[in-house]
Amino acid sequence: MDALGSYSLLLAFGFCIYAILAALIGHWKQKPLLQQSSERAVVAVTGLVVVATFCLAVLLLRDDFRVAYVASHSNRALPIYFKFAALWSGQEGSLLWWSCLMALFAATAVSVNRRTHPHLMPYAVAMLMTVLGFFLVLNNFVVNPFALLAMQTPHGPQIFSPPDGGGLNPLLQHPAMVIHPPMLYLGFVGFSVPFAFALSALITRTKGEQWIHITRRWTMIAWMFLTIGILLGGRWAYAVLGWGGYWGWDPVENASLLPWLTGTAFLHSVMMQEKRGMMKVWNMVLIFATFLLCIFGTFLTRSGVLSSVHAFAQSAIGPYFSVFLTGLLVLTSAVLFWRLDFLKSENQLDSLASRESSFLFNNLILLASCFAVLWGTLFPLLSEAVRGVKISVGAPYFNKVQIPIGLFLLFLTGVGPLFAWRRTSFDSLKRNFTRPLLFGALVAIVAFLFGARNFYALMTIFLAFFVIGTIAMEFFRGARVIRQKEELGWAGAMVELTRRNTRRYGGYVIHFGIALLFIGFVGNAFGVHEQAEVLPGDEINVRDYRFVIQGIDQDETDNHIASRARIDVYKGGSLLATMEPERRFYKASQQPTTEVAIWPHLSKPLEILRHPNADIYLVFSGMSDDNQRAVIQVYINPLVLWVWLGGVVMVLGTLIALVPSRPPEPGRPLRRRKPAKERHEVAA
């Protein structure tokens, strides 16, 4: 198996080089057969990388501890789904996983577009394979996942198989960790497709916005996976790290946020290009930057350049990434500069109160946010380079800059979609915004009366409900028209409305998710944290909750030993739940961890519906010094659930926007069909 994997990887690298050369030479010498063979080589590379990944999975599932990667990331007693997840838990495996997903994306993009857009294929193939080739270099020659353990003996080195593996890092033994890396990586690799097509369109001077239409769905899918990946990462941190929060401005978290910010900016500003032929250079810059930040994110996560809670790996891949990133940066800047004449804007800004201008501000703010996050993340490296001292900045820096940015973005989320293109009249402003503004203000006043005094929190509540108000009005207005015409009920009319313009209404649903997300963030202002050392029978009182310690049980599985505190939670005399925070000691890795207990549990929607604003978060953080009393941390984290809910709504909205819009009035003769460009973008 290990030999099969190794040789597949090596062969994949060979085919990858061939694909690049065949695509470029086939294009320059106008040899269609050679070009065609380059596209087939992409499929071959994909097949081989998939085989290699499959081999590593089999080695993990079979407990083949001769393989160094298996020995250091798995053990016999590890549950089977974690053995599979061990595939992307270490550096070697996760880089192979990157290649595997990248290859699948590349092969799909090539086979979908090769007939419809043959002129874009040569450079797109060459670019996709260059990126994949870089990762295959790492897989083959730098961090090979199939390396075997060997022992020096008097008779020379001998292959050696330890009786059991060192085990998976306990922090990674969590369900969110099984799906978080694949989602994040799908997001990262997904942006390679729009990147490659944009570059190819620029090099070949392809007319119009064709590359945007080809890659629109790819960009949205990549964006969606990135969103899911980031939120699952937050969920993992929340449920595993035990410090009561889900986002700590850790370098690795920031690394995943950076391409999300530029990607979001891109998704908005392409509409300017589709609708008005503006911002052509800017869109190129954004998609290039997004992809480079994806590579940069992988690099930060995997290289251990910056010390971080989850930079699990430290290794020699840093220089390779630096060279590759510099190469990409030079290439993209050169192509952009060389084709600058081709990207002239067709229109100019007409008014400050227009859709165009709201998009410009949206982009400005997202980019400022991205820059501020990047600056803070790289501050230790920059200060060391400039002043010779290593200085880091912490959460206060990030919060200070990012909270106002977030509020401004939320404001734009509300106003932007309702501004007309070119210019908006004062009357239409009044008509569109009076009610949502009143609605937002009303909710904020209610929150104030209930004791919320934090300025940022009140602002967020006001803006979030303002956004929700504008979205509700848009749905209501559209549905009212359809209801009258089609004689449908309200629900039916809303569905019909959404189906007629999925991109616009899907976008609104995403904005609604964003508003929910921000409502979730507000909870941070109202959390409490208490710590107590307790014996069975003791009580802890926090806010109006009463925690009664029932006892501490011991438990043991093949994989770990656990001690579990049983704690009854009361509110106003009635029992809400029994919560069981745990401490575990993992046998293979000889490491202790805490297993946080969170209520209401995500798998219990009824409890969530009845208690939508509370998250009770208990940590069994250890025994007291005399080893008699349990140290229990109690966190009350209001509104955290809304963060996850907002994420689900955002994904739902993206899925809606991915469905092709249905032309209006089915069954009746269609009216004059609009040209393709407009049909694509009747949307927001």
Partner: protein, 143 residues
């Protein structure tokens, strides 16, 4: 047309200016100097005025818990540093004898480092070694 652009550029400059100002003040508030234990001592009295982040190995047997505080000693390059942890968050599970720890806080004239935050890595650097692994067992390529 020009005035529209100027309006936009004007507002953009104001927004970016405010953000830059927030950024600079945020950096001032939270900047933390990474120093080694010898560098900390070399700073003399200047060390009392800055937020510091110091890394070292936890001296075995030095961890002592008293009245909600945790006392321990870090060592690095034969120099030692006495630390008291006063933060409210629980110490990480990886914080044990010989662990590599990073403490963030201030150094006081009582020759004690008051840490608000402690991060720790197991001596194995997260990558658990196979049991009984010896230094001479090096992974080698399979070809």
């Amino acid at each position: 047309m020009r005035t529209k652009n100027l309006k936009f550029i004007g507002s953009a400059v104001i927004i970016l200016g405010v953000l830059a100002w927030l950024g600079v003040s945020g950096v001032q508030e939270s900047k933390t100097y990474y120093v080694t234990i010898p560098e900390l001592y070399a700073k003399g009295d200047a060390a009392y005025d800055m937020r510091l982040r110091v890394a070292g190995d936890v001296t075995p047997g030095s961890i002592r818990r008293e009245q909600g505080k945790v006392y321990f000693q870090l060592h690095q390059e034969k120099q030692t540093l006495d630390v008291v942890y006063v933060g409210r968050d629980p110490l990480p599970d990886t914080f044990v004898d010989n662990a590599q720890a990073i403490v963030t806080g201030r150094y006081t004239p009582e020759r004690q480092f008051v840490a608000q935050q402690v991060q720790a890595k197991c001596a194995s650097k997260y990558e658990a070694l196979p049991p009984g692994a010896k230094p001479e067992q090096k992974p080698s390529s399979s070809y």
